[in-house]
Symmetry: C2
Subunit: 172 residues, 2 copies
């Protein structure tokens, strides 16, 4: 139906598990990686993290997000995570730890996003793409969790990455 | 560009915060609700919940999910959550508690999903749509959290709803 810069849209004739056939709209996506950078020891009392505030046309506002972006052709998820971290925030990390991988919204897209946390982070200059408008913000992990609970963090992958890292890796 | 049964795709000329102009692919979606049903007291030791296993063409497999679906025209998120719970699992709930609302993947869609938990649940017969293939499965909340941690729960909204309810409502 459509093949574009980021996504393509197919309307597929699909066979369901019972053998019946139907039409399904499917947005094809190359997949993405996202990474939560820890600026202090994640084993510490209440570690400091970094988030971005990015302008999103879909939301007509700025959203708190973890650094993230699409896989380039042939790129592995961990290389993508390190690249997006560097491009969006200027940070480099000694270590990326994979958290999990989820389908963002499997009713209409095959997009999967690979979630990471980054430790041993060194800050530097960012190199944003021309259409990326974002600011970098540091905060305590406990504050980020409070923003998830209150709904001020409104991006799904960001809420999930923060809760996953805090609950299963940091123990906060 | 395309207007379909579930989604439509626009390629918009957008003005960015610095006044520059560019093209953006945007999947328009009516929004959705999802609900985690508690079969026992959520204040109890390790409450029992209900998940569905739904065939997803996007994943070419069955995914563990919370009952969920699209808002009908004019439908409020809580009415949608109760309807999807009833249609997909046959359950009715005395009480729906709103958890939070997130953008599923704001880089290319305006879809927002409203997350709920349901308590005081009575089980009954399900009424699935013709293209829904799913099974209902009960498990302890601790087991669901373990499946999120291990990555066996691969649906973003489901991982988020389970972690949010367990972390901020149940205290598990």
């Amino acid at each position: 139906m459509y093949s574009g810069r980021v996504i393509s849209l197919d309307v597929d004739q699909v066979e369901f598990p019972d053998g019946s056939v139907g039409e399904l709209e499917m947005v094809r996506h190359p997949g993405a990686s996202a990474v939560l950078p820890f600026l202090s020891d994640p084993e510490g009392e209440d570690p400091q993290i970094l988030l971005i505030r990015q302008y999103r046309y879909a939301a007509e506002s700025y959203l708190y997000e973890v650094p993230a972006g699409r896989l380039e052709p042939g790129e592995s998820p961990d290389v993508c995570a390190a690249r997006e971290l560097r491009e969006e925030t200027g940070c480099t990390a000694e270590r990326l730890t994979r958290l999990t991988t989820v389908y963002t919204t499997p009713g209409f897209t095959d997009e999967r996003i690979h979630l990471y946390m980054a430790t041993g982070v060194t800050r530097g200059e960012s190199h944003r793409e021309a259409d990326e408008f974002l600011e970098v913000e540091t905060m305590l992990l406990s504050k980020a969790l409070a923003l998830v609970e209150s709904g001020e963090i409104r991006d799904g992958k960001t809420a999930l990455t923060i809760m996953y890292a805090a609950g299963f890796r940091v123990g906060l």
